[in-house]
């Protein structure tokens, strides 16, 4: 009985953890995505980057 309860609790804990890690994953995708977007814009606006190929 206790074992069963323990395993149920563990399962709940696992699914909670999985939920949390998924959220962390989504958050980091969005966070880094935004960071990269800013980086892209900054680099595009910097002058003289297309030095090798002019078109």
């Amino acid at each position: 009985m206790a074992l069963e309860a323990g395993s149920v609790a563990m399962q709940e804990q696992n699914s909670a953890l999985r939920m949390k890690t998924t959220l962390a994953f989504i958050a980091s995708v969005l966070g880094f995505g935004a960071l990269f977007l800013v980086l892209d814009l900054l680099l595009f606006n910097a002058q003289g980057l297309s030095f090798v190929f002019k078109g």
Partner: protein, 172 residues
């Protein structure tokens, strides 16, 4: 000794693969012969000969077509050059001494920085310096006749009247 033979065979196989790929798989393209000393064997006697020489120099010895292509975007396209030449003289960025379309073209060939088409200057010079060499310099080395022929050719592809005088007539 077995591992020596094995590794040697393996290395030779790799080298063989690269060689095979370079020799047989990619298409065989032979770079052109070095250009002859002078495209102009004699003075062109007629307008037709002058134009033929101009086209030959444009695509060959002068290497103009290398940069002045539509796709590359490295240099302005020249097919309408004689058409716009006149307008260039009165544009604000113009600092040369040319008086008409023909002398503008001549100047553009021997002193390319006299007028730099916006967007085509050497980066960092704010459009003040042209990346094009003087066509008389030794890397291209056009003679006076060849320069005149190229100007005539440019006028012909622009569809304007050819004002370049034939050498004989200039001498008179």
């Amino acid at each position: 000794m077995g591992r020596f033979v094995k590794t040697a065979a393996f290395s030779l196989f790799i080298i063989g693969l690269y060689t095979f790929y370079s020799v047989f798989v990619i298409p065989p393209i032979n770079p052109g012969e070095p250009p002859s000393e002078s495209a102009a064997s004699g003075e062109p006697a007629t307008i037709v000969e002058l134009l033929a020489l101009g086209e030959e120099v444009y695509n060959g010895k002068g290497a103009c077509a290398l940069c002045h292509t539509r796709e590359g975007g490295r240099a302005p396209a020249l097919e309408g050059s004689a058409l716009v030449a006149k307008a260039r003289l009165s544009s604000p960025g113009y600092s040369g001494k040319a008086v008409d379309a023909e002398s503008y073209l001549y100047e553009s060939l021997v002193d390319p920085s006299a007028y730099v088409v916006p967007g085509y200057g050497v980066s960092g010079t704010d459009g003040g310096v042209s990346p094009m060499p003087d066509v008389r310099a030794s890397s291209i080395g056009l003679s006076e006749t060849e320069i005149r022929a190229v100007i005539a050719y440019l006028q012909s592809v622009s569809g304007v009247e050819i004002t370049v005088a034939l050498p004989e007539r200039r001498r008179e």
